[in-house]
């Protein structure tokens, strides 16, 4: 019983987030004067548009979460992360459009390929460490990007134009069933987040943190660090692939930009702005950046990317712990201050 309440209290932040996000379309609907029934039938205009924005943010947040697990928690800096996302997106598109597979098979295929990719990366993991791993991952992902972009593959991938006209199963069509899509994407994000939380508190997750802090020591403690890294790789790849699958279903065009180094940088940027290694930072960062980007694009057009870039640099230089990290630090400091004040600097419990 005690544990049960604990679970809810421990995760109250994300649960409140879930509830608010579920209600948001209806609230916005009320603001624009459409009744909940209208929203349920996907006939609202403003709310439908914002649902779309929400879906994009959820997908980004999921991608960023998977990156945070790899980089923020385990300390593996991969520059090829967009490959997981892009492979899933393209695979979904091609499987639906060219191979005409039923939807459940597509999902299975995507997950299977995600695992295979992660194992492919894991092949080089024990050999190349640190910087070299970063470079190798960049190399692998760049090859995929180039293949996607090449004109030989135009029938499959649409080359530099992107993959268009993917037949999305009607029951989750982002046009006619957007609210359902929205709820699915939101639930997947929340579920992933809860799982990640759990994972970081699990024995496996703790070892991953130890690997980030001091891999040599973790080995000496008796952990086969390579195995842990592979596990993380697989989880991260699966998450990024689910995000990629959603992306392929939601976007009318899968642009080759998602296979680009720039997309990995996007994930890195979100994690950085939100707070490296905090998990919730990935969601906060995705919201902050997507909304900012959206507003900027509205007012200053294409050069918004330059401003986003400047923000990135400012965060790297001046706010290394990101929004959540800095907040936690503040909190910790105030807490410590209080405890010191009261002479209570004792272990909790």
């Amino acid at each position: 019983m005690k544990n049960n309440t604990n679970v809810f209290i421990k995760n109250r932040g994300i649960l409140i987030f879930f509830a608010v996000m579920l209600l948001a379309p209806f609230l916005i609907g009320l603001l624009e004067g459409s009744s909940p029934a209208v929203i349920l039938n996907n006939r609202g205009s403003m709310s439908k548009f914002l649902e779309g924005l929400g879906i994009e943010i959820f997908i980004l947040a999921m991608f960023a979460l998977s990156y945070d697990l790899l980089f923020g928690i385990t300390g593996l800096l991969s520059f090829g992360h967009s490959m997981f996302f892009a492979v899933a997106a393209y695979l979904t598109g091609i499987a639906l459009k060219t191979m005409h597979l039923p939807f459940w098979q597509v999902v299975l295929l995507v997950l299977l390929v995600a695992v295979i990719q992660a194992l492919l990366f894991s092949l080089v993991l024990p050999r190349v460490k640190g910087v070299t791993f970063t470079l190798v991952s960049l190399g692998l992902a760049s090859v995929f990007h180039i293949i996607v972009m090449s004109s030989d593959m135009i029938n499959l991938t649409g080359a530099d134009v992107g993959l268009q006209g993917v037949p999305v199963p009607a029951f989750i069509s982002p046009v006619s069933e957007r609210l359902r899509f929205y709820v699915i994407a939101l639930s997947l994000l929340v579920a992933t987040f809860l799982f990640y939380r759990r994972f970081v508190a699990s024995p496996t997750g703790r070892v991953c943190v130890a690997i980030r802090e001091n891999e040599g020591r973790a080995k000496m403690l008796g952990y086969n660090t390579t195995l842990f890294k592979i596990v993380v790789m697989v989880i991260s790849s699966l998450t990024a692939s689910i995000a990629g699958l959603l992306h392929a279903l939601y976007q009318p065009i899968i642009s080759p930009g998602v296979a680009d180094l720039g997309y990995t940088v996007m994930g890195l940027l979100i994690v950085l702005v939100g707070g490296v290694g905090t998990l919730s930072g990935a969601i906060v960062g995705a919201f902050a950046l997507r909304l900012l980007d959206f507003t900027l694009r509205r007012y200053i057009g294409e050069s918004a990317a330059i401003i986003t870039g400047a923000i990135y640099v400012i965060f790297v230089l001046f706010v290394p712990y990101g929004i959540i990290g800095t907040m936690n630090l503040r909190q910790f400091k105030t807490k410590q201050g209080w405890q010191r004040l009261l002479g209570l600097l004792k272990p909790k419990e």
Partner: protein, 515 residues
Amino acid sequence: MKTTLRKNSKAIIILVVIAAFLFVAARGMSGKDVIITVLRGFSIGSVTFLVAAGFSLIFGLLDVLNLSQGTLYMIGAYVGWTVYVRPDTFVDVLTPILLILAGFSLSSLWERFAKRIQLGAKPQKIAAWVMILVGFGLLALILTRYPIASWDLNNYSQSPITYSYMADQGMPIIPAEAVFQKISPFVAVIGILVTSSLSAFSIALLNSGTATTETANWRKYFVPGVLVLVGVLALVFNARITSWMYGMNSNWLFVIAILVSVISGVGLGALMETTLIRPLYSRPIYQLMLTLGLGTIGVQIVQAVWGRPEFVLPKPALFTGTGGVCPATNLADLFENHCSTILLLGGRVRVYDEIFIPIVGIIVLIVVWILLKRSRIGMIIRAGVQDRQMVEALGINVRRVFTLVFALGVGLAAFGGALAAPSSGLTPMMGEKLLLSALIALAIGGLTSFPGAALGSLLVGLIQQFMIKYGQIGIPLPFTDAVFKPSPPLVPASTVLLMVIVLLILPGGLLGTKE
């Protein structure tokens, strides 16, 4: 003894493998194909080498992976293009840039004011931020009103593509001059100086808490003085310099273009190292993320300024001769007529792309090699790569050496960009592609090894070119009649494959040290 032998045996094995590879690769080809492919490989290899060598120097000494190296290569190309095709824009831009630089180096002038006012730490911080905002805001305001002749991305007839094309046809368009309308030249000059020095000063204030006091001497004012002087002169004689440059022999203009792009690369490098990289030496991962971010910002900026579409930097007259005895069959014809192509074993070889670039690459290789081996600074660099603590212990100003090496490395990349532009063309994508090749080359050759950079670049260039060639003529598969034509995506894929194989066997690369 034993170690030298082992080193040599490794080198010999590598050479034998490469020779065997070349032999096998060349067997299915005619002589002229082989020659052209090898020369192109050298050409691509040379350009890759320029970027990779800079990267490796910087990584070796500073431990900084400069992932913006590709972008800086691209910027070098675009700067070179601007000087060569639009000298008027270049001259217009020169004045504000020099003035801003002067302003930044004059920032210590403000110290006198600052010393009078004593503020607490917090008000000082706030004051600094306010001054930064005011300084940069006003600077931006002035700059938006400053007249600069430019192109128009939305108007095809005035786009970079058109300017390039016309210049290539020998009929360069000479655009109208930009004139001062929204701001008077006097206000502009003084305004830029004041606002930029104010911003620089407040940044210094922010960083150090209190501004540093150095002893005043004439040198402190010499550099800014010269900068201001040149900037103002460029403003006063703007029209004359512009028309002089437009009327100039294209070969000399090309030399100037390359020089300017190298100088701007060196300047950018120095600026980056001192302002952005330096605060992050204690956080290497953030350094990596920073250079990566700067790289992507650079691409965005280039896209915003020069546009997305591809255009070329026309070749100077020395390499464009046609007709008559061209394509040349002997050196005398070549030199007399400045032929654009020559015949080698019956194959047409482009002089600039396939002869000139590799020669320049080899010259740079030798020059940098000698610099590293013989000069004092080279000695410090090599010692630093081996053991940084020791160099620091010897009391050498490592900071300055770091800045110098970073600037040099970036300068090499910018040089590569300007050099490659007439052959490869300019697109905002060029940097990323080249960075990838350079990284692969380095991973193959060894991340901190200078000869490794050369060897790796050469290998990458050769493999790419052989793959491309085979993509055209096909590889007859053994025991069958089928012909396999590697498609273009296999070109980079093959180099990555080589990289992975090399790294799995030798994690440190071919010529790198172990671990």
